[in-house]
């Protein structure tokens, strides 16, 4: 899922400083699961903003909504009837949700209430870590199910590098060396021969280097 992290409340307050009537919009997708942008977090942020503004003597009216998803047009449509009554929208969906909201409601300024961090997993309750950089050309079948693009700080395809020390990365001793993980897994599975196959130079055009990406599925289009 997409993992996010709350922005400092002061930063959020400065964004919405000019407004006295806003919509605070959460999302029931990824950001609900990673406890940063769901209905509960909408309530907490709305309460914090309300108090901060009352303290300054500049009260604010906040309409709390949590959409099923902010990355799908049909759910964004659900607030069309009320958007015009408000001066701005503060969205605590991921960056995609915030942008789609802004795209659908062009007259209303839309502000991000969280920082979108990465595509990752819940290691345990309250702990998330990155697993995928959506490079657009999955190589997990070659690397024991561990992504060298994401898990190696240098995104090396034929690692490890000289900075791998006792299974850790030179970038940060708390980060596992991705290639050590790949080696250990392939060894456990008796597939070390996979490491003898040289993975060719990466084609980054499938990743961000090719500009914003788009997928069109004619079989699904209406």
């Amino acid at each position: 899922m997409i993992i996010g992290e709350g922005k400092p409340i002061k930063e959020v307050l400065s964004m919405i400083e000019p407004y006295s009537k806003i919509i605070l919009a959460g999302c029931r997708g990824c950001v609900t699961v990673c406890s940063v942008g769901g209905e509960k977090e909408v309530g907490i942020l709305a309460s914090a903003i309300t108090m901060a503004r009352e303290k300054e003597g500049k009260p604010i009216e906040i309409k709390e909504v949590t959409l099923e998803r902010q990355c799908d047009p049909e759910y964004l449509e659900q607030i069309r009837g009320i958007v015009d009554e408000y001066e701005a929208i503060l969205s605590i969906a991921c960056g995609a949700g915030v942008q789609f909201m802004a795209e659908k409601y062009r007259k209303t300024p839309v502000y991000p209430g969280i920082n979108t961090k990465f595509i990752g997993v819940t290691e345990e309750q309250g702990v998330w870590s990155e697993r995928c950089q959506s490079c657009g050309d999955c190589k997990l079948h070659l690397t024991g199910g561990i992504c060298p693009i994401t898990r190696c700080a240098k995104s090396l395809l034929n690692g490890p590098c000289g900075g791998s020390s006792r299974g850790k990365c030179e970038v940060n001793p708390e980060i596992d060396c991705g290639w050590q993980l790949i080696y250990d897994t392939l060894k456990e599975q008796g597939r070390l021969d996979k490491l003898e196959v040289i993975i060719p130079i990466n084609d980054w055009t499938t990743s961000r280097d090719g500009g914003p990406r788009k997928i069109i599925r004619e079989d699904l289009k209406l």
Partner: protein, 124 residues
């Protein structure tokens, strides 16, 4: 035991402090509470195993939010005591009351009342 504790304290009962959520604490302040403390069972004695430990973490998180918005994190606190420690309950009630008295009223209330006053003054 019939011990008396400061009458300004309003008790809200929950089945376990594990039920106490950040939003409950924030709403208390939003509704004008000057301070809030959570009285949980002794650590290690939770009937639900970790309810009081979770409550402590949520109180810590609420402190951070209150500090960030200028209400002051010291207005919220977590205490642990057993059901048999009536005297300790009174001690804490007094300690917290003193702390909040020293801090003064919830700044939101101040600003609300000054708003009201300015409205009144503005009237012809």
């Amino acid at each position: 035991m019939r011990l008396s504790y400061p009458p300004n304290i309003k008790i809200i009962q929950v089945p376990c402090t594990g039920k106490v959520d950040v939003i409950y604490l924030l709403k208390a302040f939003q509704n004008g509470a000057d301070g809030v403390y959570v009285a949980g069972c002794m650590e290690g004695d939770c009937h639900y195993l970790t309810g009081n430990l979770r409550a402590r973490k949520r109180v810590e998180y609420t402190k951070k939010i209150l500090d960030e918005i200028g209400i002051g994190g010291e207005r919220v606190e977590m205490f642990n005591m057993s059901a048999a420690q009536g005297t300790r309950f009174v001690e804490i009630a007094k300690e917290m009351t003193e702390r909040i008295k020293a801090l003064g009223p919830n700044p939101i209330k101040k600003s609300k009342s000054s708003l009201k006053n300015s409205d009144v003054e503005g009237q012809p």
